[in-house]
């Protein structure tokens, strides 16, 4: 099963962009939109890279930071897309991992700034202002939390799964809200952005490039994963878990692993987001954010590699443009979203680059 032949193509543009059914050997369907899709993807990623670089050298730091924001939100959505789009697990609680990653960055920086230990028993653990440490801890903590939440939630399906993931995220939210040590509902400022050896992370462009690298890495991992044997099993778990079980593969561990990876990607995005804003608060954990992440995944096109990126660009642009015009911009977001859900099921990428899955 390792030789997952890429679709016949001669451009090589979107070798990494054909997830789901077409790749898993379950259905072979000619992809008529191949060149168009590859073009749209290259343009999308290229613009995301070039616009902030140009803005930086023209002196518009605001746009560089806006691009960092888009990139981080897109990365969080890439994580969620792995669960919803590829795994069919409609998690309504991914804000929990996003916020947890953020709090790892915030709490670590807080202790490093104050020279106080995070804990003294059983071992002395100091804070750290190194992003590498923060990321590593964020990965571990998010993986453990997702393992616990996933292990319970994945025993259920359908509406139960949606509501349980929501409820667990709310649990973390209320915990952060009422735990006074790290600011409670006021949140926790990060006075000095965490650093990386040899890099000036306070430079807007440097930070954008770090985020961009994170996004590309997350997309590459998703793409590799979905081309592997594991990805084929995950696709089958979504389409028909009885058949997967008949083939001798238990769907539960497959789903659980995918859920954990998905949470880790979203959690890392959260750590980047906290450092970008220099602030972490329970808002990052709120169910509104979980909802917005789902909106981004759907707006972009569910189960498509570039969908989250397209969705994030659209969402943040709408937020910035409409938010500049009216303070009630979410009303219009609601109307657009309603329209997309009711009438345009395949999202922006479906519209720009053609349909991908046979639905």
């Amino acid at each position: 099963m390792t030789n997952n032949t890429p679709l016949t193509n001669n451009t090589g543009l979107s070798k990494s962009a054909a997830p789901g059914v077409a790749n898993s050997g379950l259905a072979t369907q000619p992809d008529n939109h191949f060149d168009r899709k590859g073009l749209v993807q290259i343009v999308l990623l290229g613009l995301l890279f070039l616009v902030p670089v140009a803005a930086y050298f023209l002196g518009h730091i605001y746009y560089v930071n806006l691009a960092s924001r888009i990139t981080i939100i897109a990365m969080a959505a890439v994580g969620l897309n792995l669960a919803i789009g590829y795994g069919g697990m409609v998690s309504f609680g991914h804000a929990a991992y996003f916020g947890l990653g953020g709090y790892v960055a915030g709490i670590s920086a807080y202790h490093a700034f104050n020279f106080t230990p995070f804990m003294t028993w059983p071992v002395n653990v100091p804070g750290s202002d190194s992003m590498l440490v923060v990321w590593l801890v964020a990965i571990l903590v998010c993986a453990l939390l997702a393992l616990a939440i996933g292990a319970i939630s994945l025993r259920t399906t359908g509406v139960y799964f949606i509501m349980i993931t929501l409820a667990f995220a709310q649990m973390i939210y209320y915990f952060a809200n009422s735990w006074p040590t790290y600011g409670g509902e006021d949140g926790l400022p990060i006075y000095l952005r965490n650093g990386l050896p040899g890099l000036d992370t306070n430079n807007a462009l440097t930070y954008f490039l770090i985020c961009f690298f994170g996004l590309v890495l997350a997309m590459a991992i998703t793409s590799r994963l979905m081309k592997s044997r594991f990805g084929a099993a995950l696709t089958m778990a979504r389409l028909n878990d009885v058949r997967l079980a008949t083939a001798g593969i238990s769907p539960y561990p497959i789903r659980l692993v995918a859920f954990v990876i998905s949470a880790v990607i979203t959690g890392l995005a959260g750590a980047l987001y906290a450092d970008l804003n220099g602030f972490v608060s329970p808002t990052m954990l709120s169910w509104h954010f979980s909802g917005e992440l789902m909106v981004i995944v759907i707006l972009g096109g569910v189960g498509r590699l570039y969908g989250p990126l397209a969705g994030a660009v659209l969402f943040v642009m709408m937020e910035t443009l409409l938010g500049g015009m009216t303070q009630y911009w979410q009303l219009f977001l609601g109307l657009v979203l309603l329209g997309v859900v009711l009438f345009a099921k395949h999202g922006v990428m479906g519209w720009l680059a053609g349909r991908e899955r046979n639905e």
Binding site: I84, V90, F92, I152, R155, T156, G158, V159, Y160, I162, M163, I164, L166, A167, F168, Q170, M171, Y174, F175, N177, S178, W179, P180, T181, W287, G291, M294, V295, I298, V302, Y328, W329, Q330, L331, L333, G334, L335, L337, L338, V341, L342, K345
Partner: protein, 306 residues
């Protein structure tokens, strides 16, 4: 003193439970009959509270306001069902979640647009303010006692509606086999609109009653909505009996946990830390309860659907 506190908190727990039941029964009915997950249920709660506040302010009568609140919520519910919700019955749950999430955004921002961001004033009528003295020298607000009474009355009425009337028979039939009752000549779309409006009206009633106790503001329905989700997940989605049991359980555990956990931690921790740990743990208590129940019964306690 501590017996008084216990009685008072038990009553508070039951009061929260009955209000949660008003929310959860609508949610669980809509899911049971139509198979729809409705996040916008909290918006009807908010609509009920705003309509009650506005009408009470202009007529001066809380009862008239309350009636207007219920009717407004039910009408808005029926309208939303006709325009949006009925396109979603055959869609996957993901679409339902997103569309109703969109409705929340529209309702919340729309309400903010019309009524402004500051909370509206709504207080219980003068004949419902004051205290009663219960056995054991517990002084308890009349209004909260009234809420418990309303909750119990509505529960009984709902029981009769569902088990004794023709509408209830159709609802039960719809829960067990949607296609069949359509085939038997029941006007399904009318039934759906009616059930949805009934649920919305109950949510509006809860919103109006609780709004007079707390405050009437944008987003007031969201925490309640999530509690109601916990309730119906614990009780078993689609089951009214489960919703009642789950609502009381969640109401009691949440209320008692918030009072007694900090007290408990104070017995072996310094007070400042104890209140922090206690409060944080109390906030998580019902979710932990839910996790434990689901670990043993993944379909909830009184599952109606498989």
């Amino acid at each position: 003193m501590s017996v008084t506190l216990l009685i008072e908190q038990l009553l508070n727990g039951v009061q929260l439970g009955t209000m949660l039941f008003l929310m959860a029964s609508g949610l669980t009915l809509v899911f049971g009959v139509m198979g729809l997950i409705n996040l916008a249920h909290g918006s009807f709660y908010m609509v009920g509270a705003y309509a009650t506040a506005a009408v009470t302010a202009s007529t001066g009568s809380f009862l008239v306001g309350l009636g207007a609140g219920i009717i407004a919520a039910a009408l808005v519910g029926a309208l939303v069902e006709l325009i949006v919700i009925r396109r979603l019955y055959h869609r996957p749950h993901l679409d339902q979640v997103l569309a109703t999430f969109a409705l929340i955004l529209i309702f919340s921002e729309g309400t903010r647009w019309i009524f402004g961001s500051s909370p509206m004033r709504l207080s219980p009528p003068s004949w419902l303010t004051g205290f009663v003295t219960l056995p054991g020298d517990t002084r308890y607000p009349i209004y909260r006692l009234m809420l418990i009474g309303v909750g119990i009355t509505v529960s009984i009425a709902l029981y009769f509606l569902i088990s004794k009337t023709r509408l209830g028979m159709r609802i039960r039939a719809g829960e067990s086999d949607r296609e069949m009752i359509g085939a038997l000549g029941v006007n399904i779309s009318k039934l759906y609109t009616l059930v949805f409006a009934l649920g919305a009206g109950l949510a509006g009633l809860a919103g109006a009653l609780v709004g007079a106790l707390q405050s009437v503001q944008v987003g007031m329905g969201e925490p309640v909505l999530i509690l109601a989700f916990v309730v119906i997940v614990i009780g078993g989605i689609g089951s009214i009996k489960g919703a009642l049991f789950g609502a009381l359980l969640v109401g009691l555990v949440d209320t008692l946990g918030r009072v007694y956990l900090p007290i408990f931690f104070r017995t072996f921790m310094p007070p400042s830390e104890a209140s922090g740990v206690g409060a944080a743990l109390a906030a998580m208590l019902i979710y932990i309860l839910m996790a434990i129940i689901l670990a043993f019964k993944p379909k909830g306690l009184f599952s109606a659907h498989d």
